[in-house]
């Protein structure tokens, strides 16, 4: 029988522990495919964050390291500068990247460090059980903002692409989503660009991906996808926030 679909060689043959309807699995698959398509699996070093995707070190079929919460960009810098031929990617959630790791991501971007950052924005702390994230929307409920995020008390969400676009350093900043097939295809293109930039030694690329968390949003998977399209994308507009490749043309 002819096989028409299977697990890409960029992913290990391990059952992933993500919840039904979670966006991590989609993004993992895209990365797993790109590691093979771009021929970089055997020189890739991935960084797993702290959070639900801490287990990414078991899922990506390449060398992996699991550093402290938020420090992925610093660890990536150490690896990339020591082994410039390796393709280094840091996979991070919104607590990891936009809360505890704010300093590390800003400075890696500012140095235009030649690494690829995959930033999963699901507006919530997943692994710890649904606490407010720096990206939790105004009015959105979480276990530490049970009345809904009150901007007078808890401030505004952090828009990472817009924030980093204020720096001269980064080469490529883009926000995508994985809530429907059209946007999944766009996400794949963005990730391909982000790895391509590193291969071409262009510098820092970050792909922010709006991603579903049905469990902690208290929604069904279908409701979660709709919520991204109807609500989340209004606060976090999709698109390129920096693309030096286009500017240089």
């Amino acid at each position: 029988m002819k096989q028409i679909f299977g697990r890409p060689a960029g992913l290990t043959d391990v059952l992933q522990r993500y919840c039904p309807g979670c966006g991590h699995g989609i993004v993992h698959r895209i990365i797993g495919e790109l590691l093979v398509k771009l021929g970089i699996r055997e020189r890739a070093v991935g960084i797993a964050p702290v959070g639900c995707s801490v287990f990414a070190d078991e899922y990506f079929n390449c060398d992996m390291i699991q550093p402290p919460h938020g420090r992925g960009p610093a660890v990536s810098t150490g690896i990339k500068r020591s082994r410039p031929d390796c393709i280094v990617f840091s996979y991070q959630g919104d607590g990891d990247l936009a809360a505890i790791g704010t300093a590390e991501i800003i400075h890696a971007a500012s140095r235009n460090e030649n690494i690829t950052v995959i930033f999963i924005n699901n507006a919530i702390f997943g692994m710890t059980g649904g606490q407010m994230a720096p990206t939790t929307l105004p009015g959105m409920k979480s276990t530490t903002s049970v009345q809904g995020r009150n901007i007078k008390k808890q401030g505004y969400p952090i828009k990472v692409c817009e924030l980093l676009a204020g720096l001269d350093g980064p080469y490529y900043l883009v926000r995508t989503s994985v809530h429907d097939p059209k946007n999944i295809i766009k996400t794949e293109k963005a990730l391909k660009n982000a790895f391509g930039n590193q291969i071409a030694k262009n510098g820092f690329s970050l792909v922010e991906i709006l991603s579903m968390c049905p469990t902690n949003w208290g929604m069904t998977p279908v409701q979660s996808k709709r919520w991204i399209g109807d609500t989340m994308m209004k606060y976090f507009p999709l698109g390129e926030y920096r693309n030096r490749a286009k500017e240089e043309k």
Partner: protein, 355 residues
């Protein structure tokens, strides 16, 4: 004959690190160790290594984690408050069994403290420092010469045991100038073998994972027991200390680093006055040189622990000697440096009448 140069202690560390074949430095400015990154930035450029001035000590230690996990010799230097910031990273590095070198040029604490020389980070250095069950191999040089030589020793021990290593200096050792003999041929980093854990891309081999966590029930406990066995082995095999005039001594001073230099002058003064005084200088603070102290405890009546802190090493001396002896302490916390004379007076008080 090997080249000899008059150098600052902080510059001697840099030359020692480079001679050890290390080509990766990441660090953040803090007094009294700024001569290390400043001189390192020039020298790393000359030898084609990596120098990164980081946004914080947190970033620095994590860059080391990355570089060392990639299989390269990597080091950072800082001073007390900065070393506190690094503890999270050091704990992860210890938990992932990765060798790195951290130099702490200690200043007065706690808090911002001051920028004067101190030894008040002894507990932090010898008890792990961060969270979890672990130890770091800790060396205490007492001269510019040892500041040159110990980086190589530290890397060798760190790699042999896959464990972070610390060098504890202080502002005085770092800022003073002494002759340094370039006593060994520099290590060519390209001749260092790729370690078995190195993240370098999985071409032609199974993929490798560097991590400090395991959520499977019982696994982390097993992992910690294995590390415990490693620590026991290090404690047995790697104790280092230097003894001077201890054979006939009635009183032995126990002091390391700058305190040992000052104590050595005090011991000479005491000998001139007829007091039988020796000096035991721990070179490894962890593992603590218990054996040397245990042996001395059978023939010496008094120990005098001299430290630039409130007496942190005293309890290690008590443990090693099983409290068989009379143990005195002379300390100067908060950036104070003892003088030979005040130590001598302490000796005279203890031994007064017995000579």
């Amino acid at each position: 004959m090997a080249e000899k140069r008059l150098m600052y202690g902080n510059h001697a560390i840099v030359e020692g690190v480079l001679a050890a074949g290390c080509r990766f430095f990441a660090g953040y400015p803090i007094t009294p160790q700024n001569e290390i990154p400043e001189y390192m930035s020039i020298r790393m450029n000359e030898v084609g290594g990596v120098f990164i001035q980081t946004e914080s000590e947190i970033a620095a230690i994590n860059m080391l984690f990355g570089a060392a996990a990639a299989g390269k010799r990597a080091m950072t230097s800082s001073s007390s408050p900065g070393i506190s910031l690094m503890q999270e990273g050091i704990s992860y590095i210890a938990g992932a069994d990765i060798p790195v070198l951290v130099v702490n040029v200690i200043r007065g604490g706690p808090g911002l403290g001051n920028i004067a020389p101190a030894q008040s980070d002894y507990y932090q250095a010898t008890r792990g420092g961060g969270h979890g069950d672990y130890f770091t191999i800790t060396l205490a040089p007492n001269s510019a010469q040892e500041l040159f030589e110990f980086p190589k020793l530290a890397f060798e021990l760190a790699e042999k045991y896959r464990n972070p290593a610390l060098i504890l200096a202080d502002g005085l050792l770092g800022q003073m100038m002494e002759p340094v003999e370039f006593s060994y041929d520099p290590v060519d980093p390209t001749t260092l073998p790729e370690p078995s854990y190195a993240l370098s891309g999985c071409q032609g081999r199974d993929r490798r994972v560097v991590r400090s966590y395991d959520l499977k029930p019982g696994k982390l406990e097993e992992w910690n027991w294995r590390r415990h066995a490693k620590y026991q082995h290090i404690m047995e095999k790697e104790q280092r200390a230097q003894a001077a005039d201890c054979d006939d001594a009635e009183l032995v001073i126990v002091a390391y680093g700058t305190s040992a230099r000052v104590s050595s002058a005090a011991a000479r003064m005491a000998r001139e006055k007829g007091y039988k005084v020796g000096l035991l200088r721990p070179i490894t603070l962890w593992p603590f040189p218990k054996n040397a102290l245990a042996e001395l405890s059978n023939k010496v009546e008094y120990f005098l622990v001299v430290e630039m802190n409130l007496g942190q090493m005293v309890e290690d001396v008590k443990l090693a000697t099983e409290c068989k002896n009379k143990i005195h302490f002379h300390g100067r916390p908060g950036g104070g440096v003892p003088t030979p004379h005040e130590i001598y007076e302490k000796i005279e008080t203890i031994l007064g009448g017995s000579s």
